[in-house]
């Protein structure tokens, strides 16, 4: 029976722990410096918005860990001595491990802006960030104006959060259209309009130059790079992406680059040390995927896989077809397969948008063979297992459009749009 120690109690580390427990009797310890128990980071925004309380974000009741003999340590690991398999805690404690899983997650990016460490500037990633946000921006009297820098998923969620407290938001986005480094232009434009429709002051093609403060070191304004405009504000949310949280790991023998370097088996350069989730970096990116995948689903998948390896069934991290999801204010987004902002050289896009400007799809398909490669769907719920199967079966785009009804996952009695989409597709491509 070995002692498996996991640093980080997010979805990756916890999934690994659960699966290791199902497969073995190893001693398992999960360490976290963020919270005492696992909670769902995706739900942090809802705490601030008043939809849920913190305890609702915990997927397992507190007795779960003891019942499954998973030890929890609330503390900060300041060093890992791989030669002696020892962890050193900030408070002086030590812990021995037989196998170590590093799942320390991400930290918010800062790109060296002047004033980025002022009081009133924060990222949005951890529970501590949300607690800080509550004190800095409890209402629009205390926080008269907020500026968000960085147009991605976290930025738009922060905008939605502040909007529920009626705090005016200026949103600085360096791209031409919102999230157009990921979304094709038709999708990105619709999302940009949707964000504007909520009264968010969305500034596209705008970079942050610097953050200014008052005499007390408190944020009081930002300056936009392109125009020199000064925007008075009490709060600056820096959401220009995340990077692996590995500052502590860098001083150890474990090899790192941007993240902790791992092979396909999620092994680091040290024999009994693994890394999974946001903090892990594949030496060779897999397929079209990035080397670092900071996504909830891939973290979970890596946890499921590394548990097999640790319990004697060595398995490669071998993700299936790409999928992801998000929500932009009131518009839900799902993606299955690969849809690039510009179709890859041998591919084309088909785009359909509903006239009410709240639903659209984009399909990427191979030009010559018509093979369906991926779909973005906004405002229409679609089935994961159907698209996964169609991608495996290498169905044509024609087939997918014709059978789109099978993939519909909207609630009963909802209006359906498959025939409208089919019409649009037929007209555009003169289908027989």
């Amino acid at each position: 029976m070995e002692h498996i120690v996991i640093i980080g109690n997010g979805i990756s580390g916890v999934t690994a722990a659960r699966h290791i427990r199902k497969l073995s009797n190893h001693k398992i310890t999960i360490i976290s410096a963020e919270t005492e128990h696992f909670f769902s980071r995706t739900a942090l925004m809802y705490i601030y918005m008043g939809h849920m309380k913190y305890e609702h974000t915990k997927p397992y009741e507190d007795w779960f860990w003891k019942k499954n003999r998973i030890n929890l340590i609330f503390g900060f690991v300041k060093n890992i001595e791989t030669k002696s398999n020892t962890l050193y805690f900030e408070n002086g404690d030590t812990l021995q491990y037989d196998k170590l899983i590093i799942s320390t997650g991400s930290k918010s990016n800062k790109f060296g802006w002047k004033g980025q460490d002022l009081e009133g500037v924060l990222g949005l990633y951890s529970k501590q960030d949300v607690d800080l946000l509550e004190t800095l921006a409890p209402n629009k009297e205390v926080c008269k104006h907020a500026v968000i820098v960085g147009g991605g998923l976290i930025g738009v969620e922060l905008a939605e959060m502040l909007h529920t407290r009626k705090i005016p938001v200026t949103f600085l986005v360096r791209e031409d259209h919102f999230w157009d480094n990921v979304l094709p232009v038709g999708d990105a434009k619709m999302i940009s309009r949707h964000i504007l429709s909520h009264g968010i002051d969305l500034r596209l093609k705008s970079n942050l130059k610097e953050i200014q403060s008052d005499d007390n070191g408190r944020v009081n304004a930002v300056i936009i790079e392109e125009t020199g405009e000064v925007i008075k504000c009490n709060l600056v949310g820096l959401t220009p992406g995340v990077s692996p949280n590995i500052d502590m790991i860098k001083q150890t023998n474990i090899e790192t680059d941007q993240g902790v370097l791992v092979n396909r088996f999620l092994e680091t350069n040290i024999e009994n040390v693994y890394a999974i989730g946001d903090c892990a970096q594949q030496r060779e990116p897999i397929g079209h995927r990035k080397a670092i995948e900071a996504v909830w689903y891939t973290g979970r998948m890596m946890g499921e896989t590394v548990a097999q390896t640790i319990c004697g069934n060595k398995m490669k991290y071998n993700p299936g077809h790409w999928f992801n999801s998000a929500k932009f204010f009131n518009i839900e987004y799902q993606t299955y397969g690969w849809v690039f902002p510009e179709p890859k050289e041998s591919n084309k896009h088909f785009h359909w948008k509903h006239e009410d400007d709240s639903k659209c799809i984009t399909i990427e398909y191979e030009k010559n063979s018509n093979q369906f490669l991926g779909i973005n769907t906004f405002g229409i719920r679609m089935k994961h297992d159907i698209f996964d199967r169609w991608l495996t079966e290498k169905r044509s785009a024609d087939y997918v459009i014709e059978h789109l009804k099978e993939a519909n996952f909207d609630p009963e009695f909802y209006k359906t749009f498959e025939s409208e989409i089919l019409n649009s597709y037929s007209v555009q491509f003169k289908m027989v």
Binding site: T42, G50, E304, M315, P411
Partner: protein, 524 residues
């Protein structure tokens, strides 16, 4: 954790105005309760009801039409009334007291002592009562009117809140219709048919046994039989509802056809009770208690009804084919038949303690029926029929269903009765779990474990636990309200009816990972 109650959750001026109008309308009724004798009762009653309605409409329009369509749960846990704060407790106490007075001290509401005229609050409703059924009002008429008005005005509010969701809108229209037509207007109009020679019992057609636990009481059955063909039709309809209509509809659609689309308790819960749905207890302990309590109530009502019908049946098979003995044998036969079917075909789907519970209850019921059959006394398990009947009516019908059921909305959520006490829920749920096409499908690997579904499940089901395993939700307590699917930010849940095969399908490794790993781990 919130250091300062966000002022953005304060009511807008228009909403305050709407509340003020509604409260003034309510105040007229409070004045009547304190025996203010309004000269023109028709005018003041109309004024009161209209102001309550208009106030709610003004409030709802401003709360929801000023925002884009979508989920409207901002600030739910910050508002005092919706998060067990000061106003939530005040409302809970007021509702509980109202129910206690309604059930046990109706004379305080102004119900007339024999022969005299009504006074107080009840008298205010006399004009409406005379309009509908031709007679003076009673405390039940007052209750019925207020109940119906609540479902209608809060149904309107609910439809605005969920105006982006067709399922919720249609379901609410259904519930509003069934309450207005079946629970209120039809029985009131039917009362007009009553005379010295012809009398039908007050019958809400959608209220089925065992929820309608008194439907087979002697006075009602006599009344129906003596009222010619119509009466007999009502009696047969009541029986057909139990043994034919309910099983078929529950098989096809799950118990949601009743609990979320038809039932009056459900109707109030979903409309007036919507602001409290997230207060349901989600812990595993609550679920453990729930299973035992609600199934014990079914056993109680079955024994009680059997005893009641037994007590007024005859012994002479020449006079009427349904004698005491035939009845007991039929009940025993039916229960044995159902028990056998479940144990033979569905034993694996019951948890260990559920199997023991089923066997235990079955043995108890059969023993009691056996004692009866062989000894022929009026007693059932040491208690007499009247005691069983009145204690059930008191404990379950009044206290559990009314006082606790609605009074506790702001504290324990809107479905306390449905979850812990309703025998109909237990019976329908039993069928839903074992033999129904209904389920909530989960969307592959898309769940992000945020917890919105579990938080807003009024029945306290840990929906997230299923979604994050990619497992269909087939739970006996699920009433199919559809809110979990509505609040899910990633479109992971869908209520649907589909084949029974493979209905229950847990996955430890979700879709999206290595297909070989999925096969390895999900293999059962």
């Amino acid at each position: 954790m919130s250091l300062a109650k966000p002022d953005s959750q304060a009511l807008s001026k228009t909403q305050k105005f709407g509340v003020a109008i509604g409260v003034i309308g309510l105040f007229v009724m409070i004045l009547a309760f304190f025996n203010v004798d309004f000269p023109n009762k028709t005018l003041f009653l109309s004024l009161s009801l209209v102001m309550i309605t208009v106030g709610t409409i003004i409030f709802s329009n401003n709360a929801y039409l000023t925002k884009q369509a979508g989920i409207q749960n901002d600030g739910v846990w910050f508002k005092s009334i919706a998060s067990r704060g000061f106003w939530g407790w005040i409302l809970g106490i007021v509702l509980t007291l109202f129910y206690i007075v309604l059930y046990f001290k109706a004379e305080w509401l102004g119900l007339a002592v024999k022969g005299e005229a009504n006074s107080g609050l009840v008298a205010l409703f006399d004009p409406l009562s005379r309009l509908l059924n031709g007679g003076p009002a009673s405390q039940w008429f007052v209750y019925g009117t207020l109940y119906t008005v609540a479902i209608l005005v809060f149904g309107y509010k609910f439809m605005l809140k969920y105006r982006h969701n067709r399922y919720e809108q249609l379901r609410t229209v259904s519930v509003m219709f069934f309450q207005l037509a079946f629970a209120f207007l039809i029985p009131e109009f039917m009362a007009r048919l009553n005379s010295d020679t012809f009398s039908l019992p007050y019958y809400d057609l959608k209220n089925i046994w065992p929820l309608n636990y008194y439907n087979f009481d002697k006075y009602r059955v006599d009344s129906m039989i003596e009222a010619g063909d119509i009466g007999l039709a009502l009696l047969i309809f009541g029986i057909v509802s139990i043994f034919v209509i309910t099983p078929i509809l529950t098989y096809k659609y799950g118990k949601r056809w009743y609990c979320s689309w038809v039932c009056g308790c459900g109707g109030l819960a979903e409309t007036a009770g919507d602001p409290f749905r997230h207060l349901s207890d989600k812990t595993q302990v609550a679920w453990k208690i729930e299973r035992w309590v609600v199934h014990s109530v079914v056993v109680f009502v079955t024994l009680m009804t059997t005893a009641v019908i037994y007590s007024y049946l005859g012994n002479d098979s020449n006079k009427y084919w349904l004698t005491k003995d035939v009845f007991l044998l039929s009940v025993a036969g039916l229960l044995t038949f159902v028990f056998a079917l479940v144990m033979i075909f569905k034993r694996k789907e019951l948890a260990k303690d559920a199997q023991y519970g089923a066997i235990g209850y079955f043995v108890i019921i059969m023993a009691i029926i056996g004692m009866h059959y062989f000894s022929g006394t009026k007693h059932v398990f040491l208690f007499n029929t009247y005691f069983l009947q009145s204690s059930y009516g008191f404990l379950i019908g009044a206290i559990f269903s009314g006082v606790i059921g609605v009074g506790f909305y702001p504290i324990f959520g809107n479905r306390v009765w449905c979850r812990f006490g309703c025998p109909m829920a237990a019976v329908l749920g039993f069928q839903q779990r074992l033999f129904s096409r209904f389920r909530i499908t989960t969307n592959g690997g898309q769940c992000i474990s945020c917890g919105n579904c579990s938080t807003y499940c009024e029945m306290g089901i840990d929906v997230r636990a299923y979604a994050q395993k990619g497992e269909n939700i087939v739970r006996s307590s699920c009433v199919g309200c559809g809110i979990c699917a509505a609040v899910c930010p990633r479109g992971v849940l869908k209520l649907e009816n589909d084949s029974l095969k493979g209905r229950i399908n847990s996955n430890d490794v979700l879709l999206g990972n290595d297909v070989d790993l999925m096969d390895l781990v999900n293999q059962r």
